[in-house]
Structures are given as structure tokens and as C-alpha cells.
């Protein structure tokens, strides 16, 4: 009962604000609605007992990445063009393609019980909680089984950081002080 209320609340907020994010013309509004979606998704993570991901989502996504987005939007305050039209023609195509993709996946999901092993997807509730909520398990897995990917990810972040700094650096300094 409580579970389903929580799920429908977060899911509703997530989908609604995602839709608003795509349709708002003002980029800052889009960012705000994306933040709302991300927070709602964090709530879904918590309901799935992925508490560490929940807090990572909040700290990293909302507190880090989205702040970066807002920062850049404020730097490039291009209000006028943003109020202009979006791609008119592509909208129809996009909605058609999205609808087709959505139908496809929906059909697969609905027919899943006929597939081998697919019954898992639609049964009323998950099997007994095989995964107790704990961050220690995650850490152990991360630093043992996935150590190499972890290190690669950190190198990726380092490269991204250096790249971003190099690209964003202001080279055009010809005007006199």
C-alpha cells in the first residue's frame, strides 16, 4: 500500500517533470525540471534499497552536474534564440519514432511471460529480498571485482576534467586591459 503510493508519487513526478523539461523553452526551467526528475529518480532508487546510489545521485547529479549545467546556462544567457521555435519538422518524426520504440518495448514486456525466464519481469512482487540495503557490499564489489573499471573511470574523469579546462579556457585576450 505505502509502497505503491511512494512509487506512483515518485514515478509521476519523474515523468511529468521530464516531459516539462523537454517542452519548456527557457533552458533554466528545463534544468529545474530535470533536477526534479533526478530527485524523483533518487527516491525510486531509495525504494529499490540502493541507498548509496540515492545519495550519489543527489550529491553528484544534482549537486554537481546540474549545478554545472545551470552555471553554463547563466554564462551563455541567450534568452532571445531560446524563445524561438524548436525544430518543427523533427518534432513529428521524433514523436513517431519514440512511439514506435515505446510500442516495441511495451509489446516485449507484455509478452515477456511467454519468453524463457521472462516471467520474472511481470510477477506481482520481487523475490525475497536477496539484497539487504548496505553500502559495504557495494564498496567491496567496487574495489575487488570492478577495480580495473573503477580505475579506468577515474582516469576518464581526469581526462574529462583536463579537457574541459583546456576547452573552456579563455584564449581570446587581445583587448587591452
Amino acid at each position: 500500500m505505502l509502497d505503491s503510493i511512494i512509487f506512483y508519487f515518485f514515478a509521476g513526478v519523474a515523468v511529468l517533470s521530464a516531459a516539462l523539461m523537454v517542452t519548456r523553452r527557457n533552458a533554466i526551467h528545463s534544468a529545474v525540471f530535470l533536477i526534479t526528475t533526478l530527485l524523483a529518480t533518487a527516491g525510486i532508487f531509495l525504494q529499490l534499497r540502493a541507498e548509496f546510489l540515492f545519495i550519489t545521485q543527489i550529491i553528484l547529479y544534482v549537486g554537481g552536474i546540474m549545478v554545472l549545467f545551470i552555471f553554463v546556462i547563466m554564462l551563455v544567457r541567450l534568452d532571445a534564440p531560446i524563445h524561438q521555435l524548436r525544430f518543427r519538422m523533427q518534432r513529428l518524426v521524433a514523436i513517431l519514432v519514440a512511439a514506435a520504440l515505446g510500442m516495441e518495448v511495451t509489446v516485449i514486456l507484455l509478452l515477456a511471460h511467454k519468453l524463457p525466464g521472462g516471467g520474472l519481469l511481470i510477477q506481482g512482487s520481487a523475490p525475497a529480498d536477496r539484497l539487504p540495503p548496505n553500502s559495504e557490499e557495494l564498496a567491496k564489489s567496487l574495489f575487488s571485482n570492478y577495480l580495473l573499471p573503477f580505475e579506468i573511470a577515474s582516469i576518464l574523469l581526469l581526462v574529462a576534467m583536463v579537457g574541459a579546462v583546456v576547452m573552456a579556457k579563455n584564449r581570446r585576450r587581445t583587448d587591452e586591459p
Binding site: I28, H29, I55, I58, V67, I70, S135, N170
Partner: protein
């Protein structure tokens, strides 16, 4: 009874403590924040050779309430070109984030809202960091140059210093080996010493970063009064403005609580393991009693009769609280309440001390300039925080693998960190000297 009502009843039965605590926090924190402001003004007045608020109530004790009423009945101005929705919503974000973070805190072993969150301390830090979304969006929505410069400054500042503060916390978490708040405090009990003595550098970095995160002087650039009028709050007035204000002070309480929990032993009294110092548990009652006696002493000197009465009321309240603290000692069945009460006292005491240091710095120091602030954050604090985590980890490794004395390893690694910090400061001084000798060479302070 229909199933919905039954479910509701069940829900209430399970969660009523949490709900009541949450309501209490939402209701009381603004009041506490108001009184923190009063204390700040009084302390500032004392350090500046003046009296501070004296008119409303004896020694201005009712000033916060008068301020709140004034702010509530002020006209609520919205600039014509402001972005209405975001302008309306931004202060709420700041306030809600601070209060939500408070929900996961433990004010003593017994007083808490949320039940046993595994990731307690991370939750507090993560959610309180959401508060600056309100600052950024509010600054943007005001559509004013002062506001947007304040907002951009605060974005850059908060992102930089949160990195430093977050890494500094790791040193304490390494020592504790857990993210759960009660376990962190228990770890400090078990190690016989607060973590500030084991990771002093980490505490120092966290303190500097927390001042910057709460936008307090000398890092109050986003609202730098003499430059940007009020920074991101320039266009705000009345109740919305006071929401920002309350959010800032609630945030101060949050970071002070985090520092207390992680580094200052949480709700443990000084020397928690030494048995013959048990009489220290009597201190809260004595302290409150002393405050009560002082209030009675001052009551006679009040110029107005009502104020005398008010002082007596305050004194009686103090005595009442003192009685609550002393009761478990006298009445055996109440003894179960002793740890909770004393814990709450010590916790709040440490939080107050931490906030006092904040205020003291604010009254004393001039403000940093934006580029200096960024240099301090990126060239000194963040490298130092990383080295500190490394050296604390090294100390723990030496202790567990080679059986060396914990104090010995800690002192050695702290000395190592301090040596590197000296080196960093020296490097930085050299760099700034070189930069400033080529007077005012334009450099991009936003890069990075």
C-alpha cells in the same frame, strides 16, 4: 473500519515519533535560528564596544520575534522582469534543504527524526548541499546584475569548497569506518579520543570549507554587502528574504552538527571513558542553574517592571530545565533518561561553540576577494585534503599491518601533512607574488 483508514492508522502507529519530531524541527528551527541571530548580534555588539539590541524585551530577548513579525508584514516585492515561478520557489528550496538535512541528524543519542539511516552523514551533507540551488536560481530569477554576479560567485564557491569539505570528511570516516551517525560517535567512544585529535588537519579543512559553504565571512562573497549590495538576495524582501536568512542559519546549525558528530565526539562528554570524571554529568544542571541565578541577579536591575517579570520567567525556565537534568540523579526510575539528556546538552554545547567560532571570525576578518578565494580553495585546501586522506589512511594501515602505536602513526602522518601544507602555502605565496608583480595581468578567474 475500512482498509484505507486501517492502513493510515497503522502508518501513524509506526511513524508517530518521527512525525512529531519532524513537526517539532520545522516549527522550532526558525525560532532557534532567530535566536542565533540575536546571539550573533549581541556578541558582535560586545566585541565592537556597544550594546546591540536592547529595546524589545530585557536585553533584546524578544528581538527575534519582533523581527519575524516585521518581516512577515512587509510588502513582498517581485521585480517586474523576474522569473515569477523560480523567484517564488528559490528561497523555499534553500530552507527545505536545510531542514531536510536536519532531519537525519542526531541531537544526542535519543533525539532524532529519521530512523537509523545507513548513510546518515552522507545524507546530511548531500541534502544540505542542495540548498545552494536555491541561491543560484534565486539570483538568476531576480534578473538583476548584482543578483546574477552573486549567484555565479556562490556557484563557483560552493562547488569548490564542497569538494574540499567532502574530502576532508573522508579522514574522519576512515577512522570511524561507518557512515551511520551513532556508530561514528561510538567509534570515538571506543578510540578513547575525539577524531579532532587524530585528524586535526581534516577538521581544520572542514571548518574552513563549512564557513565557505554557509556563505559566512570571510567567505561571504555571494552576498558581499559592500560590493554586491546583498548578492543573490538583492531583489528579495519580506518573508522570502527571511526564508533565505533562516536557511543560512539552519545550514550553519547543520554544518556545526556535522563537525560535532564527526570530529568533536558528538554527544559524548569530555573524557567519556574515564570513570572517575562521572561528576561531569552534573555540569549541565549546574550550568543551567547558574544561568538562572544570573538572570535573577539581572532581574532587579531592569528599568521596566515587565522586563523584571520576564527575567524571572527566564530564570524559572532555566531552573525548570536544571530540575529536568537533575531529576534522574535523584529519582531512580528516571535514570534511563540520563544519557539522552546529557547527550543533548553536550551536543548542543559543542554546536554552539562551533558556531561561536564562526561568528568570531566574521567580526574579525576582512573579506577575501573572489580570485583569492578560488586560489585558497583549489591550490591549498583541495590538495591538502587529498593528502590528508592519504596520510590518515597510511596511519591506519601502519597501525593495523605493522602494529605501530596509533598515536605515533597519527602524529607522524599529521606532521607529514603539515609539512606539505607549508610547502603549498609557500608555493602559493610565490605564485601570487609573481602574479601581482606583473600588476593586474588579466587572468581568467572562472576557469577551473
Amino acid at each position: 473500519m475500512n482498509p484505507t483508514a486501517q492502513a493510515l492508522l497503522h502508518f501513524l502507529q509506526t511513524w508517530w515519533v518521527e512525525l512529531v519530531c519532524a513537526v517539532v524541527i520545522v516549527a522550532i528551527v526558525p525560532l532557534i535560528a532567530g535566536y542565533v541571530v540575536l546571539v550573533e548580534r549581541k556578541l558582535m555588539a560586545d566585541m565592537q564596544a556597544r550594546l546591540g539590541p536592547m529595546r524589545v524585551g530585557p536585553h533584546g530577548l524578544l528581538q527575534p520575534i519582533a523581527d519575524a513579525v516585521k518581516l512577515l508584514i512587509k510588502e513582498d516585492l517581485v521585480p517586474r522582469d523576474a522569473d515569477g515561478l523560480i523567484f517564488w520557489f528559490a528561497p523555499v528550496i534553500t530552507m527545505v534543504a536545510a531542514l531536510t538535512a536536519m532531519g537525519a541528524l542526531y541531537f544526542g543519542p535519543a533525539f532524532r527524526v529519521a530512523q537509523d539511516i545507513n548513510i546518515g552523514i552522507l545524507f546530511v551533507i548531500g541534502v544540505s548541499s542542495l540548498g545552494f540551488l536555491g541561491i543560484i536560481l534565486g539570483g538568476w530569477a531576480s534578473n538583476s546584475h548584482y543578483s546574477i554576479i552573486g549567484a555565479i560567485r556562490s556557484t563557483a564557491q560552493l562547488v569548490s569548497y564542497e569538494a574540499a569539505g567532502g574530502i576532508a570528511i573522508v579522514s574522519a570516516l576512515l577512522l570511524a569506518g561507518t557512515l551511520r551517525i551513532p556508530d561514528i560517535v561510538a567509534a570515538q567512544f571506543d578510540s578513547h579520543v575525539w577524531f579532532i585529535f587524530l585528524a586535526p588537519v581534516g577538521f581544520f579543512i572542514f571548518m574552513v570549507a563549512s564557513i565557505a559553504e554557509t556563505n559566512r565571512a570571510p567567505f561571504d562573497l555571494p552576498e558581499a554587502e559592500s560590493e554586491l549590495v546583498a548578492g543573490y538576495m538583492t531583489e528579495y524582501s519580506g518573508f522570502r528574504w527571511s526564508l533565505y536568512f533562516l536557511g543560512e542559519y539552519a545550514n550553519m546549525i547543520v554544518v556545526a552538527s556535522v563537525a560535532t558528530t564527526l570530529f568533536l565526539g558528538g554527544w559524548l562528554r569530555p573524557f567519556p571513558n574515564i570513570h572517575w570524571l562521572r561528576w561531569l554529568d552534573l555540569l549541565p544542571a549546574l550550568f543551567l542553574g547558574f544561568v538562572g541565578v544570573y538572570c535573577i541577579y539581572r532581574a532587579g536591575k531592569q528599568p521596566v517592571k515587565i522586563q523584571t517579570g520576564f527575567m524571572w520567567a527566564v530564570a524559572l525556565a532555566c531552573f525548570g530545565l536544571a530540575a529536568v537534568f537533575i531529576a534522574p540523579w535523584i529519582i531512580a526510575p528516571l535514570r534511563f533518561a540520563l544519557p539522552g539528556l546529557n547527550g543533548a546538552f553536550w551536543f548542543l554545547f559543542k554546536v554552539s561553540a562551533y558556531i561561536y567560532v564562526f561568528m568570531w571570525l566574521r567580526f574579525t576578518l576582512p573579506r577575501y576577494r573572489f580570485d583569492q578565494l578560488m586560489h585558497l580553495g583549489w591550490y591549498i585546501l583541495i590538495p591538502l585534503a587529498i593528502i590528508n586522506v592519504f596520510s590518515v589512511g597510511l596511519a591506519l594501515l601502519l597501525e593495523s599491518e605493522f602494529g605501530l602505536n596509533r598515536w605515533f602513526t597519527m602524529i607522524v602522518t599529521t606532521a607529514f601533512t603539515l609539512a606539505i601544507s607549508l610547502f603549498l602555502v609557500r608555493m602559493h605565496d610565490k605564485r601570487t607574488a609573481a602574479a601581482s608583480s606583473a600588476a593586474a595581468v588579466p587572468s581568467d578567474s572562472y576557469a577551473g
